[in-house]
Amino acid sequence: MKKDRILPEALPGFRWLLTMAWRDSRKSRTRLSLFMSAIVLGVAALVAIFSLSDHVRGDINEQAKELLGADLVLEAHRATDSAVQKMVDTLGDRRSRDCRFASMVTFPKGGGTRLVQVIALEGDYPYYGRFETIPTHADTDFRRGQQALVDKTLMLQYDAKVGDSIRVGELHFVIAGMLTQAPGRTGLSTTIAPPVYIPFRYLEQTGLLQKGSRFTYSFYFRYADPQKMNRQLSAIQPVLEHEGLNYETVASRKKDTGRQFEDLSQFLTLIGFVALLLGCIGIAGSINIYIREKIPSIAILRCLGAGIRQTFLIYLIQVTLLGWVGASVGAGLGTAIQQLLPLVIKDILPVRISTGISWLSIAKGVGIGVVASFLFALLPLLSIHRIAPLYTLRAPVEPGSERQNLRQILVFSVILVLIILFTRWQMQSWTQALIFSGGILAAFLLLTGVALLLRSTVRRFFPHSLNYLWRQGFANLYRPNNQTILLVVTIGLGAMFIGTLYFVQDMLMKRVAMSADNNQPNIVLFDIQPGQKAAVEQLVKAHHLPVYQNLPVVTMRIEEIKGHNAFQAKEDSISGIPARAFDGELRVTYRDSLTNTEELTAGKFETKPHTSGEPVYISLDESYARRLRVSVGDSMVFNVQGMLLPAVVGSLRKVDWQRFQTNFRVVFPLGVLEEAPRFYVIVTRVPSAEVSAGFQRATVKAFPNISIIDLALVLKVLDEVLRKMGFVIRFMTAFSIATGLVVLMASIYVSKVQRVRETVLLRTLGAGRKQIFTINVLEYCFLGMLAAGTGLLLSLAGGWALSEFSFDASFRPPFIPIVVIFFSITLLTALIGLLSIRNVVSTPPLEILRKEI
């Protein structure tokens, strides 16, 4: 008998699905909200960073002029000749200039000396923005007499007051004010090179203008008419090229600053994104168990005639709505957190950062959060298709269909593609995006693998002779529907982040500090004029200090590489010679032998003095040669203070740059540079901070032009820089850890029914509240230890790999921080676990059972 297929006539509408979704969520709304709250922190991180970027972009636009302080800036790395000077005098409507260089200053009151950046300023720069000083008018006052503006941190460090004097070279200046902010400067750049401003007209008298030292001259121009600037700029372009002058305009500075910030914000966005992914994985895990619990209800609905799609939609609606709620809460939190971010990154950016509500950022963050949570929730939700109405009669035995797995694979692929697209959006290169996405995937797989391995190892070696409570607490990690691995992955990833970050920081510090070991040099004197050489050496010896090195240094530029000059290199990229090789100054030395930190890798090192008529055979640092694309036998032309000097690469050396010592990329043979303008460098070692201070004071007093690099100071500065950068990263990493903890709470809630049953059973069997409490404490401690252990294990592996392949140093993991991180995470996990379990343990069992099911 043929019969028409029967199809539903009046399908219940969307409203009914909504109603059912609402009804069905009764009794599990707290739990569901908790699952979805796993995305709150991830979305918050994204919204906070998106909003920050949004505002900073605007801030850079608005403050671009203040960043530069002028409309046009020209920069020269050596004293300008009269032709350049003449050209400069024709530019702009108003002009200022400065000369900056590293020099020692002394605070006579306390006797402190330190290497700073001296800036001799002429004119009324800045034309936009202003120096922020205490007192406020100090920035104009200091230009009137023999006065200086001194960086705030410097003044605090040496306990100097306004009105005290500071010695720069041969002259004493009265401190007119404390400089808190200068155009374009960041807290970080100030930490590295604290500035001291003096009027330009005293520069000559300081006696610091010696040939061979490194000076940067900047010319600042103010234009009333931007057209005029563009005209003049294109007119002088050839001169700039020829003289090796750099220029910056407001537009180029805006671009540079913007790019620097984009790098930072991309990096932070990706960290936030990882937090979101962690949350989503948590959601997938929780929903999976939630759906398993809902199987009977789903089967009943199907029995009553609900279609597969309808049933599926009921749960999809629940999850999607809560995803919206979670993302919205995250957006609110993110907008609030954004107010804190300027505090975190203010030292890294040269702009004043504004904050506020950015609807676009909120929309982006919420959108990403909703889509991500939807897709991740879809993975477990798809198993609804497997639940047959037959389940009402008996538990199913047949496994899921092939089509089912296919759907899940499809969703998984979509997730992967979206992750790649998102990272591509952040990173602007497919390769980077693929590497990053692959990295995330690999990290998750690796974490899962290590977690599984660790868990089974612990299980095998777990002492079964321990008392019941311990065994039960441990066994809980293996209970049916356990989320152990999920939690280990989510919390472990946070631990891994923090661990790796710490190790890298530690390695950087150790690498520098290593040279502070016994008998390694720790003080470098430079800018020693040829006439001072013998006297300085004398002074060092008078202080009973060793002279490790006493070397001449000649400053030069590269004019040609293999017959290509800067212009040709820029035009013709085929040669592979980087155009920037021609920028900047090169400091070279000349000697007839290798030092103990060098090793010949190719060619022959020239030991004989150069004889005229022969080519000049120079020796290059191996990796430097690689960058310039030159090898033994290639020709180069150098420009030594205007004089062209052809040379041939005679040998390559491998240089151990890790020592605190003067090393050189280029070494000339004897007999070539002896008459060139040069200065000397003396390397020595001071046994203590007191000796160091006394020696530095004496040196600066006798030879004010000499600069001193003190390893102790370098370490301090590095430490501070790392701390400032590290703080930003740690702040963002905290989101991952916190997300892991939210996932922990969610998974405790999801297993609540089961836990209540266990508790009831244990209590019926006579277990006291205290014993049940102990079992749970132990369970979460084990869990935290497993997570922290997994994460730290991986970060140790990462740290080792970095030290081996990137830092070229031996990896000695810091013991105490590892222990601290391990126990903090364990403790935090146990604490959160206990807070969530509290009401389960303390309420009368029957009441909970009635309420929860």
Binding site: M1, K3, R5, I6, L7, P8, E9, A10, L11, P12, G13, W16, T19, M20, R23, D24, S25, R26, K27, S28, P296, S297, A299, I300, L301, R302, C303, L304, G305, A306, G307, I308, R309, Q310, A388, P389, L390, T392, L393, R394, V397, L849, R850, I853
Partner: protein
């Protein structure tokens, strides 16, 4: 005009468990007249639940045909069967199977809502009043006793005015006293609605009060005979 509400012809059901094939129903054929009441009895494991599940479209046959209300169930797709279940079939389970997150009233309303009907509340309330739960409308299943839950389940089964009602040991999970109240209720509602009913039971008295008894054993029909009793309701 249709004489038969349910027509089962050479029905076989087997389960594949690993390499072994377990045949649960062998060549089962029978028909159920429209408006009649049929009892299925047989020892535990004889395939009663399996048979009922197949007839109600909850599972797929291995071979043979099932025709319900003139519609072929055996070759209908899953969504189609869902629609047939919703429109023509009522099912009372041994273990009630109420939705735990819905109140008694909502549980009764769901099948009607699935049909896209409106203003169904009075109808559902009336049904619950009939099964004696007028004051328990807004209670959740966990707040009801077993007997009360089964009353809700019966009300739900009748809510859509199904053509045929399947009841699988409706009192199997209840004590005798409660059972003795549930059964008359079921029969009374059935008589009122004139529904065709197939009931699985171990209760010989109950079986006798139907028009026909099929005795199942080892997945085969051992006996299929009318009871001769013309009054289908037991009077306690």
């Amino acid at each position: 005009m249709m004489d038969y509400m349910l027509k089962v012809d050479r029905l076989c059901k087997s389960y594949q468990s690993g390499a072994r094939c377990l045949t649960v129903l062998h060549d089962v054929s029978f028909t159920v007249e429209t408006g009649s009441v049929l009892a299925i009895t047989g020892p535990s494991g004889s395939g009663k639940t399996t048979l009922l599940g197949l007839c109600a479209g909850l599972d797929q046959v291995t071979s043979g045909t099932i025709e319900l209300n003139g519609l072929r169930l055996d070759n209908a797709g899953e969504e189609e069967r869902a629609s047939i279940r919703n429109r023509y079939i009522g099912y009372v389970f041994q273990n009630f199977q109420l939705l735990p997150t819905l109140t008694a009233l909502e549980n009764v309303m769901v099948p009607l809502e699935l049909q896209g009907k409106r203003n169904i509340r009075p109808q559902a309330v009336e049904l619950l009043e009939k099964v004696g739960l007028a004051d328990r409308l807004h209670h959740y299943p966990v707040q009801l006793s077993g007997g009360e839950q089964q009353r809700v389940s019966i009300a739900r089964a009748f809510s859509t005015h199904p053509r045929i009602l399947f009841a699988d040991e409706p009192t199997g999970n209840l004590d005798e006293e409660t059972s003795s109240k549930i059964i008359p209720l079921l029969f009374e509602l059935n008589r009122e609605a004139g529904t065709t009913m197939v009931i699985v039971t171990h209760n010989a008295d109950l079986a006798k009060s139907t028009q026909r008894i099929i005795r199942l054993k080892g997945g085969q029909i051992m006996e299929d005979k009318p009871t001769g009793d013309t009054t289908p309701v037991v009077q306690n």
